[in-house]
């Protein structure tokens, strides 16, 4: 089976096409906090054009939040995600490798659970209570079940640019083949799953929940709606249309910048999970709220919700909770 990371399709344009326009800096959360061009794609690309070695770029490469903000904005169409995965994957001193290998090995030790057969499978890394709530919200004409494998190690491996053992990948993918639709909570899985399961519909949890009338109708103009940035930024062309409609209908404020890129909290980034010093999610939350008057924060991702709850007194609610408000 084809490695999952290889499914992040390489672009015709690599770093050598960078013209130094600086557009990739504009939405970058790492740039916003560090104000250091060496930590941006422009800095990396220009340095690579000048023959920079791995050692020169290591700190920068592993500081990237992999939020996908820069990718859709590059006017040269450079595949920034793919390039980043390659750079990380090709580094034998990848600081995330050890932790992720342990997780993958642990996952492999578990017996393969074929899971339940259903029209829709949820690849959602939340607690059982939330998954059940989401399941009941989505169950109607079709059957909805949680996937037997949440694929947390796979999400991390993709972000770290590591190859996933074929055995592990098959264990994750095969049960999903039974479904007609896959719903993922971490947008990082959207594109690889679409690639590996071409006949299936793959959508982000936020998009699915916010399209439910009982949830959509409860969004208010004073709500600050936090889109899960990876699901959105990595599929910008279609997502911008969907969320623009949602914004116009509800009047809610969204975590979109002037470029209509979703500003991440970075709470789901590998640095936060691995305990490696990354950017400060609290500072990112502060920036998201700057100049905004909001009464409630509605999140698509539980991790984003936690980042807000830890920093502000404003009520934070998961999108699925709106179904019962």
């Amino acid at each position: 089976m084809e490695p999952l990371t290889a499914s992040i399709s390489p672009s015709e344009n690599d770093f050598s096409a960078c013209s130094g326009c600086s557009l990739c800096l504009l939405p970058c959360p790492v740039w916003r906090q560090k104000r250091d061009i060496t930590f941006t794609w422009q800095g990396r690309a220009r340095a690579l054009q000048q023959g920079a070695a791995k050692e020169d770029l290591r700190e920068s490469i592993f500081a990237c939040a992999y939020c996908g903000s820069c990718d859709p904005i590059c006017p040269q169409g450079i595949d920034l995600r793919g390039n980043m995965a390659q750079l990380r994957g090709n580094d034998e001193n990848n600081p995330f490798a050890k932790e992720i290998c342990i997780r993958i090995e642990e996952a492999l030790k578990k017996p393969v659970n074929p899971g339940k057969k259903a029209h829709t499978l949820l690849v959602i890394g939340d607690n059982d209570q939330r998954i059940e709530k989401i399941r009941s919200l989505l169950s109607g004409k079709t059957t909805v079940e949680p996937a037997s494998d949440k694929g947390r190690d796979i999400v991390l491996a993709i972000e770290a640019g590591l190859e996933i053992p074929e055995e592990r990948l098959e264990a994750f993918i095969n049960p999903l083949k039974k479904a007609k639709e896959i719903i993922v909570s971490n947008g990082i899985l959207k594109r690889p799953l679409k690639h590996l399961l071409p006949g299936l519909k793959v959508r982000g949890l936020g998009q699915v929940l916010s399209s439910l009338p009982q949830i959509r109708s409860k969004l208010k103009p004073t709500d600050f709606y936090i889109i899960e940035s990876r699901a959105y930024n990595w599929d910008l062309q279609s997502m911008v249309v969907y969320y623009d409609k949602l914004r116009r209908e509800t009047g809610a404020i969204f975590n979109l910048d002037l470029n209509r890129i979703a500003i991440p909290t970075t709470a789901t980034s590998i640095q936060q999970i691995s305990g490696i010093k990354g950017i400060n999610a609290a500072e990112q939350v502060k920036w998201l709220l700057e100049g905004r008057e909001v009464k409630r924060i509605v999140v698509e991702s539980v991790d984003d919700g936690e980042a807000f709850s830890a920093s502000v007194d404003i009520p934070v609610i998961h999108l699925s909770d709106l179904g019962e408000v």
Partner: protein, 518 residues
């Protein structure tokens, strides 16, 4: 071949750049690389003071060229700006050790002005935070390394906007204040440099000084539009205004002369809020007018629209189709125009940036369109600025030069409303000395389209445009760097020597942005 070297702080009498006139010997255009005398002692002193200077290949390589992509040079080391105090220490040490310091914001110069040929590259983007948005007094205080786009992003949170900025929004505020900064609303608000109420400057000798029209006014005069010769702008207080979406109208012309006449007419009458001309060669000539309010739009459409010679889109399409039907040998050009329109126009009206026919985010729409449709690793954009009377002639002449060199090109013309109280700022700047009330500028931008042109070919093109500026006794929206040989020709010895003397006094070791102007 003998290429005489230009010494720092000296502008020789022979101002002719390569290929400008046949049979005249070449003169150096890029400065020779600073040889590094005293570098180690300089670095040791900085490190003792706790200043980080990056000397690795990767850190320096980022800054090897600018948006022009014709000038290449590496610094000995790069410093990321962090504070005025840090820059002060850097400049004091640089004066002492005679180390050149080149400042860089967005790096969007096109003649190598932000490329360091040795010495220190001071990356100002490290200082890019907004300090305070004052909605009551309609001002913003910001660090000067911020990009205009990032400033717009923060201002929008407060439902505010800047007044005018360069079309390309990854220009930095500090760099723009030193050069000018023009956009389709410069005819209404003047250039960006005229929006600065006060600035914090680190002088070439390391003093940190706040200056404005009333405090340290002489320094303010020199720093604004001063090409970074008299200090590093570290912070600025700018005028701002409440944010408004804008309604854009396009009128199409087949004659450059008519389009220019109409532009000058509506600007003089202050008939619209935004105006400019954008062309595809001299076949698809578009007069852009835009409005912040419905009333202004209605007034324009009833009073001024009938006076314009431009057509609506449908009439223009019919005229153009007829033109090319009668000239079948120009089918390639027709196809180019058709494809260009098909690609460009949707990007000027993306649905998610529009509401009720108005553009919500012009900062994004225009800047992204510029990079997507005109950007590349080389950007050749010579320009000329003149007074209103000479402007049509400048555009026509420049158009002929473009046609001679390139199959496809764009002309972009806008005006700058002048501030009478800032006359002193305009000496030896992008504002032509004889301009009154409004100055005009035209950028002449070939579309390189992956064709490979020799550096000399591109330089010859630029020289013909620049020569025209001399001939018309105008100026340039961007001068310096590789085209500094034109400075004496266009401004005259008296003015140049006066500024050179001021520079020598302010910067005894001639370290700050050496070779950009002097």
């Amino acid at each position: 071949m003998e290429i005489p070297e230009i010494k720092p702080g000296h502008l020789g009498p022979d101002h002719v750049a390569p290929d400008a006139i046949p049979f005249i010997k070449r003169q150096q255009t890029n400065p020779s690389r600073w040889k590094g005398d005293g570098w180690d002692a300089f670095v040791a002193e900085l490190e003792e003071k706790g200043l980080e200077i990056r000397q690795g290949k990767a850190a320096k390589g980022i800054f090897i060229t600018d948006a022009g992509g014709l000038a290449y040079g590496l610094p000995h080391g790069a410093v990321r700006a962090e504070s005025a105090e840090q820059i002060s220490q850097l400049l004091k040490a640089a004066q002492k050790h005679k180390v050149p310091v080149t400042t860089r914001g967005g790096g969007l110069t096109t003649e190598g002005e932000s490329v360091a040929f040795g010495g220190v590259l001071l990356d100002m983007t490290g200082m890019s935070r907004v300090k305070k948005v004052d909605k009551e007094n309609l001002t913003v205080r910001t660090e000067a390394g911020i990009f205009w786009h990032s400033l717009a992003e923060e201002l929008r949170r407060y439902n505010m906007d800047y007044l005018s900025s360069p079309l390309n929004l990854t220009s930095s505020v500090g760099g723009t204040l030193g050069v000018g900064g023009v956009d389709v609303n410069s005819t209404r608000f003047g250039c960006s440099a005229d929006q600065a109420l006060s600035v914090e400057v680190v002088t070439p000798t390391g003093e940190i000084v706040e200056c404005s029209d009333s405090v340290n006014a002489d320094l303010f005069k020199r720093v604004i539009l001063g090409y970074g010769q008299f200090g590093v702008i570290t912070e600025a207080t700018l005028r701002i205004r409440p944010y408004t979406p804008l309604k854009m109208h396009y009128f199409y012309y087949s004659s450059l002369g008519n389009a220019v006449k109409d532009l000058v007419m509506i600007d003089k009458a202050r008939a619209c809020h935004y105006s400019g001309i954008l062309t595809m060669m001299d076949r698809a000539i578009t007069l852009l007018v835009a409005f912040d309010s419905d009333n202004a739009e209605q007034e324009f459409m009833s009073e001024w629209r009938p006076k314009l010679k431009g057509h609506g889109e449908a009439a223009f399409a019919v005229n153009t189709a007829l033109y090319y039907l009668l000239r079948p040998w120009k089918v390639r050009e027709a196809l180019f125009l058709y494809n260009r329109k098909k690609e460009l126009f949707p990007d000027l009206h993306p649905p998610h940036h529009m509401k009720d026919g108005k553009i919500l985010d012009r900062t994004v729409v225009f800047s992204r369109a510029v990079w997507k449709h005109w950007g590349g690793k080389q950007m050749i954009i010579p320009d000329v600025s003149t007074n209103a009377e000479k402007f049509a002639e400048a555009v026509e002449k420049g158009n002929r030069v473009c046609k001679k060199y390139f199959p496809h090109y764009t002309l972009y013309c806008v005006g700058i409303r002048l501030r009478e109280d800032h006359r002193d700022h305009y000496e030896m700047s992008c504002i032509p000395p004889d301009a009154e009330d409004i100055a005009y500028g035209c950028e002449f931008e070939p579309m390189l389209e992956n064709r490979i042109y020799s550096r000399d070919y591109l330089q010859s093109f630029k020289n013909e445009i620049y020569d025209m500026g001399v001939e018309l006794e105008g100026s340039y929206y961007r001068f310096g760097g590789m085209m500094k040989g034109y400075i004496r020709r266009v401004f005259g010895d008296e003015v140049v020597d006066k500024h050179l003397e001021m520079k020598k006094k302010a910067d005894p070791s001639m370290i700050l942005n050496r070779d950009v102007i002097f």
